[in-house]
């Protein structure tokens, strides 16, 4: 059976002739296949291979750290070099290796485990991957822009500001920050995708609680990701603002005197703590699956295991201040956090014990996956216990900033990596259809386990080594606890040398795995559906590797066990389609055509990379221009792509025509500000890079919007509790959830700084910085405009449902006009504040918070307007009331627009009435 034939019930949906509009996938041997695929299995493989590459990259940096620490004295790295390496090692391992690797497995396995054909949004899935790859590329590029970030992966403020970053590292630092932001975009899209899929696309009969444990761990991971990463994005946006617009100490957010340093720690760790569980949970899922299979026993206390995991996921959001015990937070809150922190060890306890008890009375086979998982359990126990030490505040007072912390988090996080390696071996036969070499696998395990402990355990012994020091001069030889016996005259050196040796053993052990997995592809050890005994979940019920459509029929658990129903019986409710039996009939009229390929995710991500690179070097006075000039291009693109896709209409002509005067208008304003051609000649290359990036980026978005990409919703699936909510609608709601956190962090930062400055002191501070008056009425007018526009959007939906083209286009246009008036009004207000009164972006905290928070909102309005232009063009050609399309798209947009409206209802009191 070849890979690229649909195996849905035996019917063949052939494309005639040279059709290449997203149907069949090219063969796996072709490069094109991997560039255009949206199939979850392909994307999973791409993620896994890319993540392993970043593992090697981060690992080499680790080697350099350990070589530097071989002895305390002459060093091989400069101080700036060491700081960059330490930073990049952390960023790469945490962001670009661990989670993406887990998501590679998740991409591959989750649809199989829950009985779905693919994820809910396949193109977005591909986009997640490409954004991830290119964000990593941008991080790599940052090294070549002089120097990369030297602040540690925790990016503490105000060290993360231009005032304290060496000039040579300024460009690279901003690139690295933007790379992180791109990564967050990738992750957020992924979260929306996985959440929608798992709630709405399960096979019939599979309740939420019946989902296999690996998929459950992924579900909890993506929920955490959705909220945690939004907080980090907020922090990074604020930081980018500080980089671009607020250079001096005392300005901006994190350099401000209103507790900028503390504010960063709050924002970062609110993200940072859930992040470490985000990294670990998939490993926990792997542990559960592997222990179950290789013990030959169902997981003990499965229900409690799931509850414990969910509890940890929720609790992870209320422990973040344990990273801040030595900051200026007060004693009562420290106490609360101590309790929640030490308390979070309890659900973990339960999960570890559940795993252990599962082995009892099992039929345990010590195969490579099991060895790795068993090893990771042992390592995690050590890591977990040492974490409880850190929760006892008085101990943390001494452990802070030392290698105790380093050893603890490596034991926990790297044990997660060890578990994931077990997952690689476990699912390798499923993915490739071949069995790896078991002996080599065991050799890998021994080398890895020995190397791991040799590397990290000595760090506990010499825990008094300060973190991020490139030597350990001045440290005292450690003593054996409870005695006065000094361990080794050489002080810390021997222990650090053990760690260095361990690093190389552990690192090189991976080479055994790479070799093994590579040559096994060409071995003759072919496997069937389940080479392992006692597997339970659905991925083991299909061939290895699975067929392109995942299952030989529609999976269903209605009978209490997995069965496959003929697809013709279950797709689209047709009666005349051919049943399975291999008879190929021309059933195109009744077949649901499924698209699998698209160039746009790759293209769009590439433009994101270009734009990100461009922003890193944009000068402040040139900042807005690439974005402004891209707008006429966007308008023209709608006209062009729309005409190609829907057929030319006058509206398309109007769009194309309108782009010219719009460009002329912006060019005029540019000329007034900078002068043409002088301004253009003086613009640095990053201006042009940004312009190319944003313009082509908007073009790819329009093209993607117009691309016909059919993903049929399964007709028989479990959808609790979202039975009445379509996939796209659920996706929109989930996305808005993360947007709420984004705004929440912005607003929270404002409130934090304002309370620090004295709530009633705020206006006075603004006045000291140049503000003369800040009238409320522009905000009030804007409130009315937005409320009215929300009403007209609802009108547009009503007209669409009724099939009235004029009504829909009209109502959408009025909404657009309302938004335009909103922006125009805001523009007038800002011109007065900024230019006439001289109250600028970095004129103190009142200014920064005002401009940035309302600015973020305005950016959301602009995005809404761009979408509306697209909707109007589509509505004009009747796209929203054809059969099956009941104005849904307008409804989804309406949700977004109402969200924008509601956010303003918070901003108006905070930034106008209470100013």
């Amino acid at each position: 059976m070849t890979e690229d034939v649909h195996t849905n019930g035996g019917t063949d949906s052939h494309e005639t002739g040279g059709h290449d509009d997203g149907g069949h996938l090219p063969p796996k041997s072709s490069v094109k296949r991997w560039l255009v695929t949206t199939n979850h299995k392909d994307v999973g493989i791409l993620y896994m291979i890319t993540a392993l590459f970043f593992l090697v990259f981060g690992g080499i940096l680790a080697f350099m750290i350990r070589m530097q620490l071989w002895q305390s004295g002459p060093f091989i790295l400069t101080d700036l070099g060491y700081n960059q390496i330490v930073t990049a090692h952390g960023l790469l391992m945490v962001f670009w290796f661990l989670s993406p690797f887990a998501f590679g497995l998740a991409n591959y396995l989750v649809p199989l485990q829950i009985g779905a054909d693919d994820l809910a949004f396949p193109r977005l899935n591909a986009m997640s991957y490409w954004l991830y790859l290119f964000s990593g590329l941008l991080l790599a590029i940052s090294f070549f822009q002089g120097s990369s970030l030297p602040t540690g992966w925790t990016l503490y403020a105000p060290l993360n500001l231009p005032a304290f970053i060496p000039p040579v590292a300024e460009l690279g630092s901003l690139s690295a920050i933007i790379a992180l932001a791109l990564f967050i975009a990738s992750v957020t899209i992924g979260s929306v995708n996985f959440i929608t899929t798992m709630y709405r696309m399960r096979a019939e009969g599979l309740r939420m609680r019946d989902i296999p444990l690996f998929s459950i761990s992924i579900l909890l991971t993506v929920w955490m990701m959705l909220f945690a990463f939004a907080a980090l994005l907020a922090a990074l946006m604020l930081l980018s603002f500080d980089h671009i617009f607020a250079g001096e100490v005392g300005t901006g957010y994190f350099g401000s005197e209103e507790g900028g340093s503390l504010l960063w720690t709050h924002l970062f760790w609110f993200f940072g703590h859930p992040e470490v569980y985000i990294v670990f949970f998939p490993a926990l899922g792997v542990m559960a699956e592997v222990v179950q299979t290789f013990s030959g026993r169902r997981l003990v206390g499965r229900k409690w295991f799931i509850i414990a995991m969910a509890l940890v996921a929720i609790q992870s959001f209320i422990v973040w201040m344990h990273h801040m015990f030595l900051t200026a937070i007060n004693l009562p809150i420290k106490t609360v956090i101590m309790v929640t922190t030490i308390g979070i060890s309890l659900p973990f306890d339960l999960m570890v014990f559940a795993l252990i008890y599962t082995m009892i009375k099992g039929q345990v086979r010590w195969k490579t996956p099991f060895l790795f998982v068993l090893g990771s359990i042992v390592l995690f126990i050590i890591g977990g216990i040492t974490g409880v030490f850190l929760g006892a505040i008085v101990l943390d007072y001494s452990f802070r900033g030392t290698y105790w912390v380093v050893a603890h988090f490596h034991y926990t996080m790297a044990s997660g990596a060890v578990a994931l390696v077990g997952g690689i071996y476990y699912w390798y036969p499923k993915i490739t259809g071949k069995m790896y070499n078991e002996f080599l696998g065991k050799v890998h395990f021994v080398a890895a386990f020995v190397g791991f402990n040799l590397l990290y355990f000595p760090m506990f012994v010499v825990w008094d080594t300060p973190r991020r020091w490139f030597h350990y001069n001045g440290t005292v030889a450690p003593e054996i606890p409870f005695t006065n016996i000094t361990l080794f005259e050489t002080g810390f050196t021997i222990w650090h040398q053990m760690a260095t040796v361990g690093a190389f053993v552990f690192g090189f052990s991976f080479l055994i795995m790479f070799y093994n997995l590579f040559v096994s592809l060409y071995s003759d050890r072919v496997v069937d559906e389940s080479p392992w005994a006692y597997t339970g979940s659905a991925e083991w019920a299909v061939s290895s590797p699975p067929p392109e459509g995942n299952f030989p029929g529609t999976p269903s658990f209605a009978t209490g066990k997995l069965s496959f129903l003929s697809r013709a019986e279950t797709d689209g409710g047709t009666e005349t389609a051919a049943t399975d039996g291999g008879v190929a009939q021309a059933t195109e009229a009744h077949e649901q055509h499924v698209d699998h390929t698209s160039w746009w995710p790759l293209a769009m991500s590439l433009t994101a990379l270009i734009l990100g690179l461009g922003i890193s070097g944009l000068e402040t006075s040139y900042f807005i221009w690439p974005f402004l000039f891209a707008i006429p291009a966007f308008v023209a693109f709608i006209g062009i792509f729309g005409a190609r896709s829907d057929g030319y209409t006058h509206l398309h002509g109007a769009f194309m025509g309108a782009s010219m005067p719009l460009l002329a208008l912006f060019a005029l304003v540019f000329h007034l500000h900078h002068g043409i051609p002088g301004g253009l000649a003086e613009a640095n290359q990053y201006f042009w890079i940004s312009l190319i990036g944003i313009t082509s980026g908007l073009g790819t978005l329009v093209a993607m919007g117009y691309e016909s990409f059919n993903v049929p919703t399964p007709t028989m699936s479990e959808q609790w509790p979202f039975e009445g909510v379509s996939n796209t609608k659920l996706g929109m709601w989930v996305f808005l959830g993360s947007d709420i956190i984004l705004f929440g962090a912005f607003i929270g930062s404002y409130i934090f700084m304002r309370i620090r400055a004295g709530w009633t002191n705020w206006h006075h501070i603004a006045e000291l910085n140049g503000l003369e008056h800040h009238p409320v009425w522009p905000g009030l007018l804007n409130t009315y405009l937005l409320l009215a526009s929300s009403f007209t959007v609802v009108l547009a939906l009503a007209y669409a449902k009724r099939g009235s083209k004029r009504g829909t286009v009209g109502a959408l246009s009025v909404t657009f006009i309302g938004a335009t008036l909103f922006l125009a009004n805001k523009g007038i207000e800002w011109v007065d504040l900024y230019i006439r009164q001289g109250w600028q972006f970095d004129s103190g905290p009142a200014a920064s918070t005002f401009y940035l928070t309302t600015g973020l909102h305005a950016a959301h309005v602009v995005v809404g307007m761009l979408i509306m232009l697209f909707l109007i063009a589509r509505a004009y050609t009747g796209a929203y009331w054809s059969e099956g399309e009941n104005g849904h798209t307008i409804e989804y947009f309406g949700l977004y627009w109402h969200f924008v409206d509601i956010v303003w209802l918070f901003l108006f009191p905070l930034f106008y009435i209470l100013f």
């Binding site: 503490y156 009969g205 559940a354 010590w366 991020r468 020091w469 997995l562």
Partner: protein, 276 residues
């Protein structure tokens, strides 16, 4: 083991307040020792138990003919143990193992609770001395890239205005000089980026944050020259950001202190009135 947490915490709760006998070193050592003992015990027990069970229930069957794993066995009558079957809807173990899980969970909860209570009591003692101890030498510490500045609060004597020319003591002129056996309270901040001030020998440590003040304290019980390090990455000089801490006998300290400009006898009242 279980009682340790409860007992120790109640003992400490009834100990005299303002425990100058309990220096940060004592507090840390006792807490650390308890945690290490307990942690090692629990770790060794659980790990041994884990590996033991993994070994004990090891299947003696080899791989089935032409396959890569054992033959799946049919279980009859062993109701405590349910084997996974392909394509099943997982139902867990039913009644097997759940009770054990609750017992171990309960045990850990009890242990953890004890640890929380014990740690909390020590936290209160430490914070109390930090904030409220009356007869202490108060020092303002300001971190900067890449060193530490001190100011003796009582007199305003600052780094740069004093020298450290003491017989038999080799230390830089920006060292911190303190007397042995007295509580030294540190009020710490930074003038540029975030640092962390720590004297490992005396277990004093706190963040140095620009625009904020944090507090810690220590009571040195031995004389000599020690180090204060920076424990938060603060730039290229981070690894070499350390200062000297000179501990003198109280008499020697008095002599040195009063020989500096701007100091007076009244600043040193804490040495007399501090009860031992």
């Amino acid at each position: 083991m279980l009682g340790t947490g409860i007992t120790l915490s109640s003992a400490l709760r009834h100990a005299p307040v303002a425990q100058v006998d309990q220096t940060q070193v004592n507090v840390f050592d006792s807490l650390y020792d308890v945690f290490v003992a307990l942690g090692t015990l629990v770790g060794v027990l659980v790990i041994t138990y884990t590996v033991y069970n993994a070994y004990k229930y090891r299947s003696s069957d080899g791989d089935a003919e032409g396959r890569y794993d054992v033959e799946e066995e049919d279980l009859e009558g062993d109701y405590d143990v349910a084997r996974p079957q392909r394509g099943e809807i997982p139902t867990g173990q039913g009644k097997g193992g759940g009770k054990k899980l609750f017992m171990s969970f309960g045990l850990s909860a009890f242990l953890v609770l004890g640890l929380i209570i014990y740690s909390y009591s020590l936290l209160l003692a430490v914070e109390d001395t930090s904030q409220n101890h009356e007869d202490a030498l108060e020092i303002q510490v300001t971190g900067y890239q890449f060193g530490w500045d001190y100011e003796y609060t009582a007199s305003g004597l600052e780094s740069g205005d004093y020298d450290v020319n003491i017989d038999g003591v080799e230390a830089s002129d920006d060292a911190l000089v303190v007397p042995r056996g007295e509580v030294v309270q540190l009020n710490v901040t930074s003038r540029d980026v975030m640092h962390n001030y720590g004297i490992p020998e005396f277990r004093a440590k706190t963040d140095a944050m620009p625009g904020d003040y944090t507090q810690t304290w220590f009571q040195p019980e031995k004389t000599g020259v020690f180090r204060a390090n920076c424990y938060e990455l603060c730039g290229q000089g981070h690894s070499n950001m350390h200062g000297d801490v000179v501990v003198l006998e109280p008499d020697e300290f008095r002599e040195w202190y009063l020989s500096q400009d701007g100091t007076s006898e009244s600043d040193l009242e804490f040495i007399e009135s501090d009860s031992q």
